[in-house]
């Protein structure tokens, strides 16, 4: 079976006071190869836990994850990850950061150099190959992070709020870049975000999660990612359906948070 399968995954954290928290409960999801899936939800709905389980950093208390028919047990280079920030290696320059994955596998340096040059071109950092990480802006750093992840040619790219720390303008540019990369490379991408607009723009499928216990609340199939490739994202946002879906999801999340507040108060 090809693609990524999440089968009945549950995650329960034991608390030191003897209680427990159901971070995830009975999650079922199938992602086909080449799909762009965005995951949205209020804080505490377990979306980062889910991503950590997909990456193999955490083992679920129940259920299994399968990628191309193999069970996920630990981190591996077939599941690349892009973090919010601070995951680049400051002691290496841009090229070395991007070439880190292939280098760890013992790829010949000539091949690494060719790969790095190609990726620098894709993320638009041709002239920054020898720069150090600390000399670059936040947006450029995230470009490096994307390229570093792509260098390993992973089957799935997991993105944990990769654009969360960027300013609005940079964020818009990076959203276009993510769409470009998706189209050019045909990778499966699962992206976590807490921006509703971003989830709408960067999701063929949009999964809305609900908290306590963390579960899939609703799923949308959306045309905006396809529309946005190579196009002006502001144009896409003016789409009528974009506005109505955004309002619907915002209300949904608003209600979830109200419910949590209400429960906390009672």
């Amino acid at each position: 079976m090809s693609g990524l399968n999440i089968n009945d995954v549950s995650m329960t954290f034991e608390l030191p006071n003897g209680g427990s928290v159901e971070a995830l409960k009975n999650i079922n999801l199938s992602v086909q190869k080449g799909e762009l899936v965005s995951v949205l939800g209020p804080s505490g709905c377990g979306k980062t836990t889910l991503l950590n389980i997909l990456a193999g950093f955490l083992a679920p208390t129940d259920g299994i994850i399968e990628l191309n028919g193999e069970i996920v047990k630990k981190p591996s280079s077939e599941r690349g990850m892009v973090f919010q920030q601070g995951a680049l290696f400051e002691w290496m320059n841009v090229s070395k950061n991007i070439g880190f994955g292939p280098k760890m596998k013992g790829t010949p340096q000539v091949e690494i150099d060719a790969k790095v040059a190609e990726l620098l071109d894709i993320v638009g950092l041709q002239d920054f190959a020898d720069k150090m990480i600390y000399e670059m802006s936040g947006g450029m750093q995230q470009r490096v992070a994307l390229a570093r992840c792509l260098a390993n040619d992973p089957d799935v790219i997991l993105m944990d709020e990769p654009l969360g720390a960027l300013d609005a303008l940079t964020r818009e540019k990076m959203q276009s870049l993510v769409l470009d990369i998706w189209k050019k490379t045909g990778k499966t991408i699962i992206l976590i975000t807490h921006s509703v607009e971003e989830a709408l723009l960067l999701g063929e499928r949009l999964i809305v999660m609900a908290p306590r216990p963390g579960r899939i609340h609703k799923e949308y199939k959306l045309p905006f990612a396809e529309l946005g490739v190579g196009a002006d994202l502001r144009e896409v946002k003016r789409h009528k359906k974009f506005g109505t879906t955004r309002d619907e999801i915002l209300n949904m999340i608003w209600n979830m948070e109200e419910e949590i507040m209400g429960r906390a108060e009672s």
Binding site: P75, S76, G80, Q84, A87, F89, W91, M104, M132, Y134
Partner: protein, 462 residues
Amino acid sequence: MIFSITPRPASLSEFFWFNAPDGGEVASLLSTTLWMVLGIFVIFTIYMVFSAFSWAIHKLFIDGRNKANGYTSLKTVTFGDESAVEANRFASVASVVAIFFFWGLATGSSLLGPIQLPAPFLGKTSFEYTAINSYGETDKGTVNLLVHTFDDKPVLEKANNIATGFARDSAIKVRERRTALLSAKKIGAKETDGFKIIEINGIAIEPNQIVNFGNGEVLLTAKGSMQIRPYDGMTMEALYLPAPEDVWKSFLRLNKEGYTNVGLWENVFWSLIRVVLGFTLGCLFGIPLGFAMGLSNWFRGWFDPIVEFMRPVPPLALIPLIIIWFGIGEQGKISLLFLAALWIMTIAARAGVSGVNISKVHAAYSLGASKRQLLMKVILPNSLPEIFTGARVAMGVCWGTVVAAELVAAEKGAGKMIIAASKFQLTDIVIIGIIIIGIIGFAIEVLMRKAENRLIPWKGRG
């Protein structure tokens, strides 16, 4: 009565012995401290007056001419903005000049030219005394005083003693800042009944009284002899603090001849090589130990008690034990420095590992790194800033420890030179040693910082 009904205090004394300090001891401790507060305040005030004076000069003649430019000069809020505060180099230079000025002033340095505190009297002086005998007759005698320096060994001219009465003339030599006792027997008390001195230069004197004779003072002792103290000025004796130019001369001599057959730089070299060896050993064992503690539950549990116990023990407290175990040879000193550096480096490396952002570890694993690759390519470079900070601290501690260890026992080394010189009261060599130790300690710190900037430019910018 109240105490007798509670048996506790009596039984406690069986377990430990603590002599409660009596009120007098505590009071004297407190009064000493209070006097020190006063002394520190006075010294600090004098220094600050000098500072204010230098500030005025700077304001009047220098500050006006080259107005600061650049971004900081445009800031209107500077008081409270630490980034706008920069060391004024004029002040730094003036401060060092001030220290040398006070040093010169206190020691009567020739460098200061006419600016001098009153010096102790040197040369020839005399006074006249009047004595009385049992018949009530009085007679006058002259005491010729020759005050000479420490190095000078003058031959005393015999007093031109044409005895006319019972009070004899006398000649006496005395070192500057010292006193001389002129026994009454020497000037006539042996031959004259009831010989008693009653006046100095015509001023009446009683036993235990002091009379000033211009270039010094005379104390009449209870037994009727004269204790003569030539004027000792307001400057310090070279024994306590030699003048800067004398220290410089000693430095040049020390450079050429060494002290106790060991060259000055040979001493410094031995101290440095011990520090380098001890520090290197400390790093060699401490860094892997710290990594092990940062990476494994077992090693953290295993080494935690000893590291946490040894960390607060000052290396100096280990010196006696080290001498008992290893004797006074090199092995003991290197061991001591190794122990001084070891715990610091262990803790630094451990902190370096725990400082690794978990995202970096996750990223490395997701990119296909093995454990070994993670350790070498991510954890090691990522902990370098912490390790370097630890290394700077360890170097400083090692340098302090080596000097202290050499004070206790060594054949060569900067500390050994100081302690040997101090036993012969060669204060100039002691001061040279202190200055060199300070300069080298400072140089080590500067070099480590330079190396840090070059080797880990990403520090603080992660």
